[in-house]
């Protein structure tokens, strides 16, 4: 690929918004639309999700789970602590998307595990999981671009 995927996608955006949209019924615009479709169909088998955000998500989830396991252990629930550790350890090392997804599933299970503790004993574990969820939400939002929903709704 001589043009990086980011540049191709930016180019498609520019074409759609600046060349197609202002004159959407013209033959030239229709031709440009086909060109966008052609770029996309050839991009399909050349790209994969970026690793860094997925690795960061997995690291964050893994740390939260380790904290939960520690709290459960300190509370005398070695069985639940082991279940949390086992779920984290069962996450595949790769690919990054599958690892992050498996660890997030373990986070969901951990919420259910800590509900077995009295509220005050569960609090440090709940806080660790909440911190992960908050930080992950911020990481996700940081990647998002300004929404075009208004334009999409108005047509």
């Amino acid at each position: 690929m001589l043009i990086p995927p980011e540049a191709l996608i930016d180019g498609c955006m520019r074409t759609l918004l600046e060349a197609v949209l202002p004159d959407v019924g013209s033959r030239f615009a229709r031709g440009q639309l086909y060109a966008v479709a052609d770029v996309l169909q050839n991009l399909r088998d050349r790209i994969e999700p970026k690793r860094a955000p997925l690795e960061e998500e997995a690291r964050s989830a893994g740390e939260a789970l380790a904290r939960v396991a520690a709290v459960l252990g300190e509370a005398g629930r070695a069985d639940l602590a082991a279940a949390v550790r086992d779920a984290a350890a069962a996450a595949p090392e790769a690919p990054p998307a599958e690892r992050a997804e498996a660890l997030e599933r373990a986070v969901v299970e951990a919420f259910a595990q800590i509900s077995a503790l009295p509220a005050e004993r569960a609090e440090p574990a709940r806080r660790a999981l909440a911190a992960h969820l908050a930080q992950q939400a911020l990481r996700e939002v940081a990647l998002l671009k300004a929404s075009l929903l208004t334009e999409i709704s108005k047509g």
């Binding site: 997030e104 599933r105 919420f111 909440a130 908050a134 929903l149």
Partner: protein
């Protein structure tokens, strides 16, 4: 009516040849259907256009010219049709039609809705036809300068009308109106439980990885079901974006309540929470882009004579974001399966990130990082 007789709108002339052929066919069949229902000598469907508003059902706006003897009359209508796939699948338009039809004579500004048809020979899929009410639908999004979609005079005029309309909706005697078919929930926590499980089931049906923020919120909802001693009709999607408004400064009027596809029987505060929640504030502080949430709750309390329980509203505000998540996941699933060509379903794949951040905020997770 033949294709040659049909008048073609400007929008259609700009449409591609394929779109023109498809819509021509729909128009002709719609005209024949309406001629039979209206008992007219001849019916022409004019200015037929698919609307861009509404993310779920397909919406078509059109004018109908009716000829009876020497008299001709033109009236505007809207048809709502089941999509092949969409946000609230599986679809059944009949309950919504029966509610709208039953409310056609009520002072509530719901669109008079005379016709429903299941026969696929007419418009390929089930649809209903309602009268077009005056006004426009402001989009719940900030303007480029960051202000909300309504100006101060409009907000001041509309807030009491919205509260009164909601109170009127909840005052409808649903048993007397023949709406018991919607199914009343059980007493006590039954209404809240039914809604939580309704949307949890949709999340499961989407069969996509459940974001942990969402899973935690569902757990919290199940552990904190509020009791409700009164079951009313619940619109289910009562919010800016479904309010038809005639904009005229301090004389602005609420002229219509649209999109009844999530109508059900339940806790009336569910509607108040839905329209007050983060989703419809256009990044501002105001419930439904109108007034602060406490103020809207106070207006509703006066109009309805109910006490607004803040804890119950807070519960239903969390449910509101869970419900929207379920809707988005359903749309993502439909797109991922290739069952819809509507690219708006695909944008939910990134929009859901905003939703999860909102849910994390409402559940207090940001406190754990000092936020």
């Amino acid at each position: 009516m033949s294709g040659e007789e049909r008048r073609v709108s400007g929008e259609e002339r700009r449409a591609s040849g394929e779109e023109r052929r498809a819509s021509a066919s729909l128009e002709d069949r719609l005209a024949a259907f309406l001629a039979a229902r209206l008992g007219a000598d001849a019916v022409r469907v004019l200015a037929f256009e698919r609307s861009t508003e509404g993310f779920s059902q397909e919406t078509f706006r059109f004018d109908v010219e009716v000829a009876c003897g020497k008299q001709r009359e033109t009236k505007s209508y809207v048809a709502k049709r089941e999509p092949v796939a969409g946000l609230l699948e599986p679809y059944d338009l009949e309950p919504e039609f029966r509610v709208l039809h039953a409310l056609s004579q009520d002072p509530l500004p719901s669109p008079p809705t005379p016709f429903f048809e299941r026969d696929p020979a007419v418009l390929d899929r089930p649809f209903y036809v309602m009268e077009c009410l005056p006004g426009e639908v402001p989009v719940p999004a900030p303007k480029p300068d960051g202000s909300g979609p309504l100006d101060d005079a409009e907000r001041k005029a509309l807030a009491p009308q919205v509260a009164s309309a909601l109170a009127r909706l909840h005052a409808i005697d649903w048993k007397a109106a023949g709406l018991g078919f919607l199914g009343a929930p059980g007493p006590g926590r039954g209404a809240a439980e039914r809604e939580v499980e309704r949307w949890a089931a949709r999340i499961r049906a989407a069969a996509l990885p459940t974001p942990p923020v969402l899973a935690e919120a569902v757990l919290w909802l199940r552990e904190n079901l509020p009791a409700c001693d009164e079951i009313t009709l619940v619109h289910g999607d009562f919010r800016i974006g479904n309010w038809l408004i005639e904009r005229a400064g301090e004389r602005s009027r609420l002229t219509g309540l649209l999109d009844w596809e999530m109508v059900h029987l339940g806790d009336p505060l569910e509607d108040l929470a839905w329209c007050s929640c983060l989703l419809w504030r256009a990044s501002g502080p105001n419930a439904g882009c109108l007034v602060p949430p406490d103020e809207l709750a106070a207006l509703y309390a006066v109009a309805s004579g109910r006490t607004v329980d803040a804890a119950r509203v807070a519960f239903y505000e969390v449910l509101a974001l869970v419900k929207m998540s379920a809707i988005m996941l359903t749309g993502i699933r439909a797109f991922r399966d290739g069952r819809t060509t509507d690219l708006r379903m695909a944008i939910f794949d990134h929009q859901i990130g905003f939703l999860m951040a909102g849910l994390a905020m409402m559940r207090g997770h940001f406190a754990a990082i000092g936020g």
